[in-house]
């Protein structure tokens, strides 16, 4: 059995309550950090652990913490990013629903490390039930003396609040999140300055994902070195994977980084294979924003070696033959799924969610949606395919925040790997309305020559 650090006790009845959580060893990390470590020592452990941000970008958490500015007499903030809106991602919701104290405990230890006396958990507004769960857990923790003034007699004070969002994917972007927390529209800020210098209310701020913060608990309990022993290379520790799409057992899984993708999809310990006896056509390995890969390149690298669930292996081959770990939202498509339709659906999503500040993103996402719609509905022209590539290139790298890239990559990668399916939609406008292109040759491991763009 694989090691579990975050979800070990998820099936224990009552683990959502403070009492049961403590019986299972909960709040040991708070006691250890506040009573025996200095804030800098906590940061040091997190650095040693090699933990990389679990929200999508994979930036080393310890390093991010050490960039936090500490001017005299200015408040510092820790803000937890629980906006979880990346299509395919549902691990944070799961963690907060079933084991809310893991996040609260992580918030206390992390706030202590950063010297924050007020911290916020920004939860997407649709997760009202999770907001209630967290509020209840915070009240329990406060009653038990883990929050408030002079926690455990350490002299350290912390207030923790839950802030609901209003329904906007863009508020997952950290500077848009801070704007939203200030009561404004979720327009991402131009960086620099980075939040570590000027974040919430202009004060130094760290924004971390729910899973990153929860991972600080086992890191402090067992030590950063122990954590770093799990995983492979620079992908240390365990990672929550949200598995969705046409799988026998979709759901949230905690894996040790480095697990072969093939094992994750097909083994009974994990997703149990493709549902209804069908075959795998494609995957989006890290949430809707990362490049889509055909089945052959999902399971194997271009050189034929097995692909692993790690930051490095998932991105091996760059954009030509690789994808990304992203948020760990693993979406599987069976042989009956239409790549054109899914690409259109994702483009519609990004168009809907663009904040509208930059014209390449605002206009480009709209164009892509429109062109993909006509391809899907049988009105496409052959030149539309290159038009899409062209528009996606004009968005990429030309926007204030990475939502532009996130909108461009799925389109560019779908055409890169599934161009014949797009062409089929143009050539067979009537047939493509009632049937699907099917599996073609995607399922055969690297049977098809790997195409390198340009």
């Amino acid at each position: 059995m694989a090691r579990k650090l975050l979800l070990e006790h998820i099936n224990v009845p009552g683990i959502n309550t403070l009492d049961v959580y403590r019986q299972k060893g909960g709040y040991r990390a708070v006691e250890k950090a506040l009573k025996t470590l200095t804030p800098d020592e906590v940061v040091e452990e997190v650095k040693k652990s090699g933990l990389r941000g679990r929200g999508g970008a994979g930036f080393p958490t310890g390093m991010k913490w050490s960039f936090l500015a500490k001017p005299e007499g200015v408040a510092r903030y820790l803000v937890c990013n629980a906006d979880e809106s990346e299509p395919g991602t549902f691990k944070d919701r799961y963690l907060m629903t079933y084991i809310p104290h893991a996040l609260i405990e992580g918030m206390i230890v992390s706030s202590f490390a950063l010297g924050a006396n007020t911290s916020y958990i920004y939860v997407r507004g649709e997760m009202m039930p999770q907001i209630r769960i967290l509020e209840r857990a915070i009240a329990e923790a406060k009653n038990a003396g883990f929050l408030g003034k002079n926690i455990l007699g350490s002299g350290y004070d912390l207030e923790l609040y839950v802030q609901p969002g209003g329904g906007a994917y863009i508020c997952g972007e950290e500077t848009a999140l801070l704007e939203s927390l200030e009561g404004k529209r979720g327009n991402p800020r131009i960086k620099p300055p980075f939040p570590a210098i000027a974040g919430l209310y202009g004060c130094p701020t760290v924004v971390n994902n729910v899973e990153s913060i929860a991972a600080v608990v086992p890191i402090i309990n067992d030590g950063g070195d122990e954590y770093a022993k799990i995983g492979i290379g620079r992908s240390t520790g365990t990672k929550l994977i949200s598995a969705s799409g046409n799988l026998v057992r979709p759901g949230v899984y905690e894996i040790e980084l480095g697990l072969p993708v093939e094992e994750f999809i097909y083994s009974d310990e994990w997703c149990g294979g493709i549902a209804n006896g069908k075959r795998l056509k494609a995957t989006v390995a890290g949430g809707s924003s990362v490049p889509i890969l055909p089945a052959n390149l999902t399971l194997k690298l271009a050189n034929g070696e097995p692909r692993l669930m790690s930051y490095e292996s998932l991105s091996e081959g760059g954009f030509a033959t690789g994808s990304m770990m992203g948020s760990g939202g693993f979406i599987a498509f069976d042989e009956d799924q239409c790549i054109v339709r899914n690409t259109w659906n994702f483009s519609r999503f990004y168009h809907h969610e663009s904040c509208g500040q930059c014209s390449p993103c605002r206009e480009g996402t709209g164009w892509m949606e429109k062109v993909l719609h006509r391809l899907e509905y049988g009105h496409g022209k052959m030149s539309d395919i290159d038009l899409l590539v062209d528009v996606s290139k004009k968005i990429e790298g030309n926007t204030i925040c990475p939502l532009g890239d996130a909108a461009a990559w799925p389109v560019a990668s779908a055409i890169r790997h599934f161009r014949d399916e797009f062409e089929w939609h143009v050539n067979e406008p009537v047939k493509s309305l009632s049937t699907n292109y099917g599996l073609a040759n995607y399922a055969d491991p690297i049977a098809k020559a790997v195409t390198i763009e340009n």
């Binding site: 408040a75 979880e84 299509p87 991602t89 329904g167 404004k184 969705s244 949230v252």
Partner: protein, 170 residues
């Protein structure tokens, strides 16, 4: 069903005002605008939607300009700027849920309720709409119903029919 009409001045209950007073305390002195999103949720939960007069009242309460409330309420997808049905069925329409039948389910809801997306049934009880990924993609198709955002997972046509019947009887 609807507690307020478009132009009617609104009153906030004392419970709502007490809740707002509590929310404002979460932020540093002078940063009360941070309370805007949570307060708009509370107001919508009480009144069903955000009329101009309701938004103006929030602006006055937080001591900010009316426009600062309008621009926020119109930016975020959860705030209703028009009256809705008593129950708004919000179905996820994003990619992963579509792989497991969300589009077909939306078609079924449209047929069952007899109204198009964003329209209200004659009895004022229901409206429905597609929304973007609700972070439950492994349990699709899914839908939620405010103001508590109760969640329904692994849906099919039969389960939706039962849900609608249950809500009708409430």
């Amino acid at each position: 069903m609807l507690k307020v009409e478009e132009t009617q001045p609104v009153e906030f209950s004392s419970a709502l005002i007490a809740k707002c007073d509590e929310i404002v305390k979460r932020y540093p002195e002078g940063k009360q605008k941070s309370a805007l999103l949570p307060i708009l949720h509370e107001v919508q939960a009480e009144l069903g939607w955000l009329s101009t007069s309701a938004m103006d009242k929030v602006a006055a309460y937080l001591d900010i300009q009316d426009i600062e409330v309008y621009e926020v309420a119109s930016f975020y997808s959860m705030y209703f700027l028009k009256p809705q049905g008593k129950y708004v069925l919000e179905v996820c329409r994003t990619g992963p849920c579509c792989l497991v039948g969300a589009e077909k389910l939306m078609g079924h809801i449209e047929e069952k309720l007899g109204v198009k997306e964003n329209q209200v049934t004659e009895d004022g009880l229901f409206s429905w709409r597609g929304v973007e990924c609700l972070a439950a993609c492994g349990y699709g198709p899914v839908l939620q119903i405010g103001p508590e955002y109760t969640f329904y997972e692994n849906l099919n046509e039969q389960k939706v029919d039962e849900l609608i019947e249950d809500l009708r009887k409430k």
